[in-house]
């Protein structure tokens, strides 16, 4: 058929799925898990509806920050293989629409959190969104190789938000959980950047393998893993988790350490570039996701069993 009709609006190519993809659902799953853990281990009780609302707001806030991140990074996303098919660079969602969507969801998540639980939790949620958008995305990501070290704090807020939603304050315990995620982030992201460095190099994002080389990155993955492992025992040492959690932390940590050593000792050339297509880094990256999830599940189960 060659007949044509006209529509008096722009060519909106987006599907519902594209708007969901803007929220980075895979990232949200880990955010939700750590946030739920904060809600479960906090002393005190919250009505189940308010617990679910708090989880929804944490997910929504993280998704909104992800959408604004995709709006800001649309220029580099279009040039990276890993991100070129995202809704904005692929032309299915207009940049302005994505920004409005992200900002609207940010405000909605913070206001609903405040109304449902308390304004301390809402304030920390707002802080986490602001940190991810302004500190990590707009300021650090394209300027320093330490981008994900400092920016990693943005992803470490959910257990603190969960805790604050129940208690209305922040004490040492949620800060320990914050620190665990904070120290987990560099080895997790640097394992990824070891095998995705060509993408980052092409678009000029100063990830560690681009600025300091693969060899230094391997060393840093190992150093941060070594720093992380004793920290994961802090909940047990400080008495807010039992031997059940401690045992899980040791076993999971031992495997993470083994993976990090494998990354460090990967067969490589003089500059540290992998001769195995970064197979250990890929395995380590995948494991790091399971590691954090299982560690927080262990902590939550520990509390549920003891309760």
């Amino acid at each position: 058929m060659s007949e044509t009709s006209t529509a008096e609006i722009g060519p909106d190519l987006s599907e519902v799925r594209d708007w969901v993809d803007l929220l980075k659902p895979r990232v949200i799953s880990l955010v939700v898990l750590t946030g739920v853990c904060g809600l479960l281990v906090a002393p005190g009780r919250l009505h189940p509806v308010l617990v679910l609302t708090a989880v929804l707001c944490i997910a929504l806030g993280a998704g909104a920050a992800g959408a604004i991140n995709m709006w800001y990074d649309r220029d580099i996303d279009a040039r990276m293989k890993r991100t070129a098919k995202r809704p904005i660079p692929a032309g299915r969602i207009a940049p302005g629409g994505a920004l409005a969507y992200g900002v609207a969801l940010s405000f909605a998540s913070v206001i609903i959190m405040g109304l449902a639980t308390n304004w301390v939790a809402a304030g920390i949620l707002a802080l986490s969104i602001g940190f991810y958008v302004f500190i990590y995305t707009a300021w650090l990501k394209r300027r320093t190789s330490q981008n994900i070290v400092i920016g990693g704090a943005a992803g470490a807020f959910p257990p603190v938000i969960g805790w604050a939603a129940v208690t209305g304050n922040v004490t040492l315990e949620p800060l320990i959980l914050f620190a665990i995620i904070f120290f987990w982030t560099p080895p997790h992201f640097w394992a990824l950047s070891l095998f995705a460095h060509a993408d980052y190099e092409r678009v000029g994002v100063p990830m560690l393998p681009v600025t300091h080389g693969a060899k230094e990155t391997r060393k840093q993955v190992l150093i941060y893993t070594l720093a992380l492992l004793p920290l994961t025992l802090a909940p047990w040492l400080l008495g807010f988790a039992s031997w059940i959690y401690a045992g899980a932390a040791v076993l999971l940590g031992a495997e993470f350490l083994r993976q990090s050593i494998a990354v460090y000792r990967d067969r490589q050339d003089a500059e540290g570039r992998s001769l195995t297509s970064d197979a250990p880094a890929k395995t380590c990256f995948r494991y790091s996701l399971s590691y954090l999830g299982l560690l927080f599940i262990a902590l939550a189960l520990d509390h549920l069993i003891l309760a």
């Binding site: 006209t6 009505h47 929804l56 609903i112």
Partner: protein, 49 residues
């Protein structure tokens, strides 16, 4: 503000309408869920701990 006029084949127009219908339904579901959520939050906040 002027609206851009886009020429579409009938197939493109049908796909466009399908996508728009899909999104309208999604917005309706979200609004209804939001209404239920606010009702539940109010009820839960009024329930003694």
């Amino acid at each position: 503000m002027t609206l851009e006029t886009i020429a579409m084949t009938p197939e493109e127009r049908a796909a466009f309408d399908r996508r728009r219908r899909q999104k309208n339904w999604a917005v309706l579901v979200v609004l209804l869920l939001l209404m239920v959520l606010f009702f539940l939050i109010s009820t839960a906040r009024m329930t003694p701990a």
